[in-house]
Amino acid sequence: MGRVVTKKNIGFYLTIAATFVVNGLILGHLFSNYDFLSVFRATPPPEEKHLHLNYGQPLPPFSGMTITGETIDTDFIHGKWALIFYFERYPVTDFLRYCEVLSQKYGSSGLQPVGITRVVTKELEHLLDNQPISYPVIVDSKNHLRNLLHFRYHRYGLLFVDPSGVIRLSLNRLMTPNDLRQLVERYLVGSINYEIEQDWVIKLQPGDLLPPYRLIDVKRGTRLTLQDLELISSTIIFFTAHCPSCRLPEYLHQLAMMERSASLEAQRLYFIFSRRFSLRELIDQMEDLTVTLDIYLAEEEFEVLGSPYVTRAPAWAEVIVIMTDENSRVRAIEPLDRWLAEFQKE
C-alpha cells in the first residue's frame, strides 16, 4: 500500500472535498430557511400555512438581538405603541428614515418603532452610518421572528400594536409615509390631519445660493452637481410627484410644449426630475419625444423643498420653478402654472 494522497490524485480528493463543502453549505442554507423535518411529521392543518396575525389578536412574546448587540424583548415595547416592521433583505431607505422622523415627533407620546431584518447588508450598514436611527433594528438571521410573527411568506411586513399588546394593524407590506403618518396620528393624536401640513415650506429664499446637489445627465449618462451648470440668470424647473410613473407622461408633454414655445427660446432652462423618478423610464419615454433640452435626474433628496414631516407636496408645488439672478442666487420661486401664465402674458 503506497500513500493514499499522491501528487497525481490530489486534484481528485480536492474536488471531492469541495463538493462536500458546497453540498454542506447548500443543505445548511435549506435547513435554516425551510422546515425539512415537517416532511416526517404528520401533515399540518392546511390553515397553518397561511396563518396571519390579525387585527385584535395579541402580539406573541418575542426577543431578539439588535444590530448594536443589545437584546430586546416584548417588555421593551410594553406600554408603548409599537410599530414593528420587517424587511427581509433590502432596507427601504425612505421608510426607515420616516420611522425615525415619527419616532422623534411622537416618541414622547409613546411611539416605539422596531425594525426586524434577516440580513445586515452593506447597504443597510451604509445607511445607518450616514443617518443614525434611534430605534432598534433586530437581526433575525435564523428566521425565528419571521416565523413567529408570520412574515414568512412575505418580504415585508408591518404590525402596529397598542400599549396593551393587541394588534391594531397587520400588513404583509410596508405602508407609504402618508399612511404611516395617518395611522400614528389616528391612534396617538386622536385625529388625522387631512390638510397639507403647515410646516410645508420652501426653505430656499430669494438671495440664497443653490446647494450642491448631485445629478445625472439623462441624455449623456454623466454625473455632475447643480453647480456644474451655468446658473447665471437661468431657470430651473424641478419636477416632483406623488406618483412619478403616473405623472411622467404629462410632465414630458409639458416639456415638449415648452420646447416648442418661441417665448422660451431665449431662456436658459434646466429640467430636473426628483430622485423618485426612474432613470430607465425617463430614457424610455424621452426616446419617444423629440426633446432636445437638457434633462437631469436628481440623485438625492432636494432638502430645500419641503420638510421631513411632510410626505406629499400640495398639487401646486409638484412642479417648482426656481429662477436665478446674474450672481447665480435665487431670484424667485414659483409654481409652474403661474410661471407659464406670466410667460404667456409677456
Binding site: 397587520s170 402618508n178 395617518q182 395611522l183 405623472r247 407622461p249
Partner: protein
C-alpha cells in the same frame, strides 16, 4: 469589367429600394395618430404631436356636444377622489381613496362628516377603491386593502360586510340589496352576493381575445385579464358593463341574461385600439412609437385602458362611457346600445385623460380628476340646435 459594373448597379439599386421602403414605413409609423386637437368647425382632429410636420393621416370625428368642468367642494383637500354620488336628499358622497374615507357633503357642498378612516377595525377603511349607494340608502364600499366589502348606513355606522379578495373598483347593488362584483377568476364575468357574502349566482361569459379584437388569435391567459369591467345599474336592475381593456359594452337584464352587446365605434375608438395594441407590443419588447398615456396593471400585465368608467342616466336612459384617453365621453342609447355621439371638453380645453371616474345623477354628470385631486360637475352643452 462589365459584369462588375452590373453587379454594383444591382447592389446599389437594391440598397436604394430598401432605403425607400424603410423611409416610407417609418413615415407611415411616425404619422400614427397621437395627439388630439380641435380643428375648424369643432371637428376633433387626431394627429401626431411628436411629428407635427407629418400630419398626412389625420382622421376626423365630428363633435357636436361639449362639456365644461365646474369645480365642486372648492378648497376641500382630497387625495385621489373617486366617484361623486348623490343620495335622495341631494347630499354628495365622494370616495377619498388615499385618505381612506368617504366624505359626505350637504347639497350646498358644505362638508358634513366622513365615513371610515385608516385602519382594520370594523368601521375602518384601507384604500377603498369604489362605492355605490343602494336603493335602501346604504353605502356599499369596496374596502380594497382590507380585502372586504363594507356596508354602512347613512350615518356611517357599519351594518354588514364580508371578505372579498379582488380589488377592482367596480360594483353595483340591485333593489334587493344584492351586490354585483366582477370576479372573472371565478369563471364568470359577474358574481352576485348577498350582504352577508353568500354567493347567490354567477353570469356572463369571459371574453376571448378574438371576440374583443377580431383578427387576433385567442390566448387563454388573456381571458381573465380582458374580462375586467366597470359597471352601473338602472332602476329596473339592468346591469350595464364596459370592458376596461376592450371596446365593448353590454347590458344584462335583472336575471343575468345578456340583452345586447355593442362594440364602441368611430375613428376615436379605432385610435384607442391602436394605442392598446401599440402598448401590448411595447410590453412584449417590440419598440413602438405610439404609447398609451394611461395604463393599468392587472395581474402584473400592464395594459392600455379603453373604458375608464360607465354611468347610466336613469332619466334619459343614456349610457356614458368615459374613454381611456383625452377625457372624451362616449354616449350610447340604453335600449339598443348604439352610439349616439362623443362628448369632449370645450375648444381649448382638450383634456389629457385626467378624468378618472364618471357618475351621473338626475341627468347631471360628475367627474373626478386624480392628478389635481378635484371633483367636477360636467356642464354639457350642444352646438347643434337640434340637440340643445
Amino acid at each position: 469589367m462589365k459584369g462588375k459594373r452590373r453587379l454594383w448597379s444591382i447592389i446599389s439599386m437594391t440598397v436604394l429600394t430598401v432605403a425607400l421602403i424603410t423611409s416610407i414605413t417609418v413615415k407611415e409609423r411616425s404619422s400614427l395618430l397621437h395627439d388630439i386637437d380641435r380643428g375648424e368647425d369643432n371637428d376633433m382632429v387626431l394627429s401626431d404631436s411628436r411629428n407635427a410636420h407629418t400630419r398626412s393621416s389625420q382622421e376626423k370625428e365630428k363633435i357636436v356636444t361639449t362639456y365644461r368642468k365646474v369645480l365642486l367642494f372648492e378648497g376641500f383637500r382630497f387625495d385621489i377622489p373617486k366617484f361623486v354620488r348623490r343620495d335622495r336628499e341631494g347630499n354628495y358622497y365622494v370616495l377619498d381613496q388615499n385618505n381612506h374615507r368617504i366624505c359626505v357633503f350637504d347639497p350646498s357642498e358644505k362638508f358634513r362628516f366622513q365615513i371610515g378612516r385608516l385602519g382594520q377595525g370594523p368601521e375602518d377603511l384601507n384604500h377603498p377603491t369604489g362605492f355605490v349607494i343602494g336603493r335602501d340608502g346604504r353605502l356599499y364600499v369596496r374596502d380594497a386593502d382590507n380585502l372586504r366589502i363594507q356596508i354602512f348606513d347613512q350615518q356611517g355606522h357599519r351594518v354588514a360586510g364580508f371578505q372579498s379578495p379582488l380589488k377592482t373598483p367596480s360594483m353595483a347593488v340591485n333593489s334587493h340589496g344584492e351586490i354585483f362584483l366582477n370576479h372573472p377568476t371565478k369563471g364568470h364575468l359577474i358574481s352576485v352576493y348577498s350582504s352577508e357574502g353568500e354567493l347567490r349566482r354567477q353570469f356572463g361569459d369571459l371574453i376571448s381575445m378574438s371576440r374583443a379584437y377580431p383578427g387576433y388569435s385567442d390566448d387563454e391567459k388573456y381571458r381573465r385579464l380582458l374580462s375586467r369591467v366597470m359597471m352601473d345599474m338602472d332602476e329596473e336592475d339592468n346591469l350595464y358593463v364596459a370592458y376596461l381593456f376592450a371596446p365593448i359594452i353590454q347590458k344584462y337584464d335583472a336575471s343575468g341574461k345578456l340583452v345586447w352587446e355593442q362594440r364602441l365605434e368611430g375613428p376615436f375608438i379605432d385610435f384607442l385600439t391602436k394605442i392598446f395594441w401599440a402598448e401590448m407590443k411595447h410590453r412584449t419588447g417590440e419598440k413602438q412609437k405610439l404609447r398609451a398615456p394611461f395604463t393599468m396593471s392587472i395581474d402584473g400585465v400592464q395594459m392600455a385602458v379603453i373604458c375608464k368608467s360607465i354611468a347610466v342616466d336613469r332619466t334619459t336612459n343614456r349610457i356614458f362611457v368615459l374613454l381611456g384617453f383625452a377625457d372624451i365621453i362616449y354616449v350610447a342609447d340604453g335600449v339598443t346600445g348604439r352610439k349616439i355621439e362623443l362628448i369632449s371638453q370645450k375648444k381649448g380645453e382638450i383634456g389629457r385623460g385626467s378624468l378618472w371616474t364618471l357618475t351621473v345623477n338626475n341627468g347631471t354628470l360628475y367627474g373626478t380628476r386624480w392628478a389635481r385631486a378635484r371633483c367636477y360637475r360636467l356642464v354639457v352643452s350642444s352646438t347643434d340646435p337640434q340637440r340643445r
